[in-house]
């Protein structure tokens, strides 16, 4: 019984960390630019394909490939903001449609370049580690630890740097922040790039764990959406809480009943939260 409970918690927490990485970027972009970035899942997919090209095809070191892929996706995000999203600042519906268009375009591009086949990247770490009575795959544990490190760095960046402070100010009130010298023209691409980079890290880290294909971003995108609705759209601590709630809920119900029930319960919780507290657990 204890063994099963421990497995459920460990599975739930490892999933949570990746959900949080995805959701943080998603909520950051919404919080600062009021853009519901439906292309967030495709940024995850692009990073996974970049790792595939660098690691599996060119034979580069996997960890270097992860770093480069995340940075490349971050830069790509900043360019997307500058070229495609900036004209729609303040117009949420237009921004949403632009995000959908980018999502479909990126999927189609991956389809043309890589076909429909599912690709794999060789895992840098394999085997399992025995934690008490529970066996945990080493690769998942490594992904969890790296995700934790990235989340820690993200927290420090947001809490202790001027840019982080400026971003938090823009989330609270862009006009007042502007009066105090914060320049939205710099903060917007920075936030979009940072959000995209977090999605890039998630995709790059998960590349060896799952298979890589053009439509792989839709599920993580859906999870990110559930997480931010749970935690509160635009709320960074809410994304962390939402990620943990979703990861553990899924793990409990998928292990004890089945994955279909787990999905139903996840959405059931979202409905409940929306009815009781429409702004999400920690949203304003």
């Amino acid at each position: 019984m204890f063994e099963l409970a421990a497995k459920i918690v460990i599975n739930g927490l490892t999933s949570s960390l990746v959900y949080i990485l995805m959701a943080l970027g998603f909520t950051l972009i919404f919080g600062i630019m009021r853009v519901v970035n439906f292309a967030h899942g495709e940024l995850y997919m692009v990073a996974a394909f970049l790792v595939y090209v660098m690691s599996a095809s060119l034979g580069w070191n996997y960890y270097l490939a992860v770093l480069l892929a995340a940075i490349a996706v971050g830069l790509f995000g900043a360019v997307l903001e500058r070229v495609l999203f900036r004209p729609f600042i303040g117009r949420e519906l237009n921004g949403m449609i632009m995000a959908l268009a980018i999502s479909i375009t990126l999927q189609a591009t991956a389809f043309i370049l890589f076909g429909t086949d599912e690709h794999s990247v060789e895992r840098p770490i394999s085997g399992v580690i025995q934690l008490g009575m529970v066996m945990v795959p080493r690769d998942r544990l490594a992904v969890g630890l790296i995700a934790l490190l990235i989340l820690g760095m993200f927290y420090l960046f947001m809490r202790y740097t001027k840019a982080g402070l400026a971003m938090r100010a823009v989330v609270q009130d862009e006009e007042i922040a502007s009066i105090h010298g914060v320049r939205p023209k710099i903060i917007h691409p920075l936030a979009f790039g940072l959000g995209a980079m977090l999605a890039g890290f998630a995709g790059a880290l998960m590349a060896p764990i799952y298979t890589i294909y053009p439509y792989m971003g839709s599920q993580p995108m859906l999870k990110a959406f559930i997480v931010v609705i749970l935690g509160g759209l635009g709320s960074v601590p809410g994304a962390v809480l939402g990620g943990v709630v979703l990861g553990l809920t899924e793990s409990v119900f998928a292990t004890l009943i089945n994955t279909t029930v787990a999905t139903m319960v996840s959405f059931g919780i979202v409905v409940l939260i929306l009815l009781i507290k429409p702004t999400g657990l920690l949203g304003r």
Binding site: R123, G127, Y210, Y213, N258, T259, T260
Partner: protein, 389 residues
């Protein structure tokens, strides 16, 4: 001057006349054949095999100058639509093929739900179809225009379970895992019947959504039932590889069996050589034969990705269809072509002699019957360890 103009005009008209006559003599019409199948997403390995099989047969015929039927020669054009394994998209694809593209012959779909959704369309519009899909509901005594181009689990589950019982007698408890749709439901029901009929105990029957990639929770539950065999059934090959890898990482030391759709290269790629080792599976073809290798080499020259074994069946099925058209002397009257299609059996296919049958199981002889192969993954490659005629 006036005379010269008249002569020039006459010469011009004559030239146009000759050109028109020459064109009429060498007239090549186009024969459109439709494909509606899963060309993207999980399961697309099988859909692309359907598409690739007919395309290979079409290219072969076109390379010989086209398909000669009576005094006409037809260049074959294959029009393909992706249903992504979804019934709604299969219906829209098939409707488009029938109403917009005016095709009379269709290959696919491969998904059971997709097939059941388009079945009334095919029958009502007299569309002669070489179908895939494992569901037993695809064919019945009233099915007139649909012919299944590959053997289904109905044909091969029984013999393979018997083989397992004889060759791996120590294995007793089976856990099943299949996709949560018509294909998976049918597969699970049929496999359960055969395993239990063979004296095995089915300790778990799990269904999953096709988009699922994290199987740790499902496998945690499965492994708690202590199975000797994890039966992967109709799980798509890439996904099956992930299941294998994650189960091994969770400590499963038993036997993996896959008596469902083939796809060893994708399984090995997703699971890794080390974890895929020893998997016993239904093999749609003996990939070591010269005939298979020749077709595979041709395929690689013109199509991507690597050829799935299923392509062999649809290549053979398409060639049978083209032969039937030639014998019927028409590409319009599907009733006549249908009658001839039944007569081209037995047929010399890539895997050996194939023929139409299935009256006992389905109430009509619209099911292709072929040799059955059992494969095992050894060092990342599929090795044929059993063949049943």
């Amino acid at each position: 001057m006036k005379l010269t103009a008249k002569r020039t005009l006459a010469a011009l008209l004559s030239a146009i006349g000759f050109a028109w006559a020459a064109a009429a003599v060498a007239q090549t019409d186009t024969l459109k054949i439709g494909v509606v199948s899963a060309l993207s997403g999980p399961g697309s390995e099988w859909g692309l095999a359907q598409d690739g099989g007919i395309k290979m047969a079409a290219m072969e015929a076109n390379a010989k100058g086209g398909l000669k039927i009576g005094s006409k020669t037809y260049k074959i054009e294959v029009i393909s639509y992706d249903d992504t394994y979804k019934a709604a998209l299969a219906v829209s694809g098939a409707t488009r093929l029938i109403e917009q593209d005016k095709v009379k012959f269709i290959v696919g779909p491969v998904g059971s739900a997709s097939l059941l959704a388009v079945k009334p369309l095919y029958e009502k519009n007299k569309i002669l179809a070489i179908i895939g899909a494992y569901t037993e509901k695809a064919l019945d005594a009233d099915t007139k225009y649909m012919y299944r181009g590959f053997p289904t689990q109905v044909e091969f589950v029984g013999p393979i379970v018997e083989w397992l019982k004889k060759n791996k007698p120590a294995l007793k408890a089976v856990a099943q895992i299949d996709p949560n749709d018509e294909t998976g439901w049918f597969s699970q029901k049929l496999l359960k019947e055969h395993y239990e009929g063979g004296g095995y105990k089915v300790v778990a029957s799990e269904l999953f959504e096709r988009s699922l990639k994290d199987f740790q929770p499902v496998l945690t539950r499965i492994l708690a039932t202590k199975p000797d065999i994890i039966e992967l059934g109709t799980t798509p090959p890439g996904t099956a590889g992930l299941v294998i890898r994650q189960a091994r990482e969770l400590g499963f030391k038993g036997q993996f069996v896959k008596i469902g759709g083939p796809g060893v290269p994708q399984i090995v790629a997703a699971a890794g050589k080390e974890f895929a080792e020893g998997l016993i599976c239904y093999a749609a073809a003996d990939v070591t034969t010269k005939a298979y290798k020749d077709l595979e080499a041709q395929y690689a020259k013109v199509l991507k990705p690597p050829m799935n074994e299923f392509a062999v069946y649809f290549y053979d099925g398409a060639r049978m269809l083209l032969d039937a058209m030639q014998k019927a002397g028409t590409v319009e009257d599907t009733e006549k072509v249908r009658m001839e299609l039944e007569k081209v059996s037995p047929y010399k296919g890539v895997q050996g002699t194939i023929r139409w049958g299935g009256m006992k199981s389905y109430g009509s002889n619209h099911q292709i019957l072929t040799p059955i192969f059992i494969g095992m993954i050894k060092n990342g490659e599929q090795e044929i360890i059993g063949r049943m005629e």
